[in-house]
Symmetry: C2
């Protein structure tokens, strides 16, 4: 069966050399929550004055740590803060016992780190429905707090992995009013598809100074164009969490600064694409750009219908320029379309125009594009100005192998 | 690669011995539309006085024959009628040329069969985006009309197949006011998943006497509980068509008769299940029953989220009682749920109750149920009285093999 040990063919050549972000320190430990012989807990300690923003899954069965984070985001405080993440167990669908575990962990972190409990944010990722052995986590807290170091972010990216085949990191530096501001991010997961809802988690750190409400607005907005525009298999985790922390240590205020917003978007998009590149069984990275829809929201509905279609994803796996399936997906999406105005491109190859196969269509040229490992599908609905771009991967035998027997 | 030549392991033991229905005659021919050495056109001739009802795909990119049928359904006429179906080419996304083909075929059928053109209904199923060589069909019309026979329905079920691994037929006889009425149905397809949108097609014939509006109301209503409750992979065809014809030849009026409605529902459900049993790559037939939802409509949203989840379908393929994925699907569905009231059953095994793994849960008992080829998943949302049942199949390597390279 099941677990794939080789690194995704779409992985970046190497993990980036991430620069330290002033005001945040990291530590990791091997607590044995489930995995043996690897780190499975990471702690990030944020200096006093840091603000924290977050975006979370909308699942109605979301996990206890998600509910706890949601309650704490935006509560004003000048104290320090902490983010603790464990892999191996999602503490999801664990009833009152799950809430107790979150309480025990956040209390212990607060004491060990000397921060208020309402400033301790946790995430858990891994198997669902099993009680979290939270003692194993609280047992390593003193080690974590004493080892915390500004250079620990790469180790943190590794500690939060579950079935990821590579650690995911990205960064940016931007000058605001002539002074440098840094943004560093790490992520784990394969979109919504990681087995047993081992989930998508994202942590962003910047030394920028920014109001919490401003940071929240920024990450919520960019999240719609980055993480909410990726899909591996349409299945949504019970634990998806993004936390963004601004320590203010650079002394540079970025409220309303466009350069900072663009740099942050670059980091988030980079991480979102890395999650797709680690999609289970993925062999192709697929960009789907829809234009000419009735609105941006309708364009995204079309794009997601294409990105989630098993028939399209299997055709891409087979390197088959099967544009008829794109017509099908647009038709079923529920968003407005006019069959006779639809145009489709695979890469630079115009496949269909105004509701039929293009006069200039070359099956050979389209097939050549499908052989690449970066596939781009362009669809013009032809009825308006709405547009959206989403990213996904193909659906392969690897996906079946990984998911048909993960728990056993 | 691609085409699977062996019959689905979930196929019925044999095609049923279908009784003739008075007032309808069938003929088939090998027109060479695309396939060689097999029949690919079927004609059903309906006696004067027949009424025809229909249900069609809601795809916004639906094919020319579908649009033509929709325009003709319900137009009153005492004349005879005809249904002509070809396999091998869907005449979908073929622009004005597609409309011309429908016009040419319906005109020729009208002349050959001596019925008005607005009483000729056609369906086309197979490859999308290729012009339909309609001359090959009109060339065999005189053969078809002269061979038409009341006993031809089994041959008709075969002629409409594309990648189906078995022909699908069902029937019922019901006494109304002490007199027998017959219902016979045939179908093709593997739900919404057949490659290149080779589609789901269903034809029902009865000798009952019934108003067209009454027949339409019956099939529209039952369709919601039968064909609209199956899914193989969430992909919706551009050509899905169901036509129901009542010849009235029995002389028995069934308007408002409950026994007739139940018999019709039995035939439609039987055919719907057969379509799932021929789902591409299917090795398990899966029934998903949701209760306790806020409404019946919300129950169906939950049930379809479960039925379409790739993670659940692959777990079933792997015979893994992975109930955490059911929690995930309920959570993402968008319909109302309360995590802490959710209960889940696999077969007779209570897996989860009130938001956590059941006290009595036995992994061995659940795993034993998953080894069967008929899997039943029961979910109680615990917040209302809404219920729905849907049917699907598992997602296997066979599905990937069939769909990753169908056109090539």
């Amino acid at each position: 069966m099941a677990k794939i040990d080789s690194v995704s063919p779409l992985a970046p050549a190497s993990f980036p050399q991430l620069v330290p972000v002033d005001g945040v320190r990291f530590a990791t430990a091997a607590a044995g929550v489930k995995y043996k012989d690897r780190t499975d807990v990471m702690l990030a300690l944020l200096d006093p004055g840091s603000v924290v923003a977050g975006v979370f899954t909308r699942s109605s069965t979301r996990a206890a740590p998600v509910l706890d984070c949601q309650a704490k985001i935006g509560v004003p405080s000048d104290a320090g803060a902490a983010i603790l993440v464990n892999s191996g167990n999602a503490n999801a669908f664990t009833g009152a016992r799950g809430t107790d575990s979150v309480e025990a962990i956040t209390l212990a972190v607060a004491q060990a780190a000397g921060v208020p409990q309402e400033r301790v944010f946790t995430s858990s990722t891994g198997v669902i429905g099993e009680p979290l052995p939270h003692d194993r986590i609280t047992d390593v807290l003193s080690t974590l707090t004493s080892n915390a170091d500004v250079n620990g972010v790469a180790a943190a990216a590794k500690a939060i992995m579950t079935t990821d085949t590579f650690a995911k990191g990205a960064q940016a530096q931007v000058d605001v009013a002539g002074k440098p501001v840094r943004i560093v991010g790490i992520a784990k997961g394969s979109g919504m598809i990681a087995p047993d809802m081992a989930t998508m988690l994202v942590y962003l750190f910047t030394d920028a100074r920014i109001e919490q409400t401003g940071l929240q607005a920024l990450v919520s907005g960019i999240n719609e164009r980055s993480f909410n525009c990726i899909t591996v298999d349409s299945d949504t985790s019970t634990s998806d969490t993004l936390l963004a922390a601004a320590t203010g240590a650079s002394g540079v205020s970025v409220d309303g600064d466009r350069g900072f917003a663009e740099a942050l978007e670059g980091v988030m998009l980079d991480l979102a694409h890395q999650v797709v590149r680690d999609g289970e069984g993925a062999t192709k990275f697929v960009e789907i750009a829809v234009s000419g829809a009735a609105s941006d929201a309708e364009a995204k509905i079309h794009a997601m219908a294409i990105a989630n279609s098993p028939l399209i994803k299997t055709a891409i796996a087979g390197e088959d320029p099967n544009w008829g399936r794109v017509v099908m997906a647009v038709g079923k999406s529920g968003a407005k379309a006019d069959r006779d105005r639809l145009s489709i491109r695979f890469g630079d190859v115009e496949v269909a125009k105004d509701g039929w196969r293009s006069e200039s269509y070359s099956e050979e040229a389209a097939a050549a594009h499908m052989k690449q490992d970066h596939i781009s599908i362009g669809v013009d609905i032809g009825i308006g100005t709405g547009q959206a771009t989403v990213w996904t991967c193909d659906l392969t035998h690897g996906y079946i192998s990984i998911n048909a027997d993960y728990r056993s």
